[in-house]
Amino acid sequence: EAEVAQSPRYKITEKSQAVAFWCDPISGHATLYWYRQILGQGPELLVQFQDESVVDDSQLPKDRFSAERLKGVDSTLKIQPAELGDSAMYLCASSPQGIGELFFGEGSRLTVL
């Protein structure tokens, strides 16, 4: 069964360092999402791609976060510099197109010390 792949699964970093997360969506899925989930809360959208284009990054803290999906397939989410409040699970999801189920990866758990 096709899955959304994410790496690393766990990342521990010190504040002010740079960190990057990678996501490979299900093959053929045009839409890719990055969500952030703080412990005890629901996922919150950071950025949404349609193919290689950003369609929603209104909740992305652009002073320190960046995301790209250069060839419209896999994607990278970067944080620089990391802050203590960035500690969370970073979830990647994909969908074929339009309205419907989002398929989530297992997430990347970030701890900032």
Partner: protein
């Protein structure tokens, strides 16, 4: 242990009983709704979805009810099993791009 963050509402249910998880959504223009199950340390898994032109949909052991008048969604799990212990999230979609907005979640604990 996990002690940081908000405390999720918790539903404690005995094995074999039926569970009902409730969700109030925010946008009256939302036209698609979905329930996810999330086990500790894992990504959300799809349970069941429903579109706004329906008020009930059934799956295997699960039923989703939608009341658009009061913007309320519920998930019913029949004959709850230990493997059903998880956090359950409802989510809504109100744009054409497919973005889902998630609720706060409910922790379901199944006791023997």
């Amino acid at each position: 242990g996990e002690s940081v963050g908000l405390h999720l509402p918790t539903l404690s249910v005995q094995e074999g009983d039926n569970s009902i998880i409730n969700c109030a959504y925010s946008n009256s223009a939302s036209d698609y709704f979905i329930w996810y199950k999330q086990e500790s340390g894992k990504g959300p898994q799809f349970i069941i979805d429903i579109r706004s032109n329906m008020d009930k949909r059934q799956g295997q052991r699960v039923t989703v009810l939608l009341n658009k008048t009061v913007k309320h969604l519920s998930l019913q799990i029949a004959a709850t099993q230990p493997g059903d212990s998880a956090v359950y999230f409802c989510a809504e979609n109100s744009d054409s791009w497919g973005k889902l907005q998630f609720g706060a979640g409910t922790q379901v604990v199944v006791t023997p």
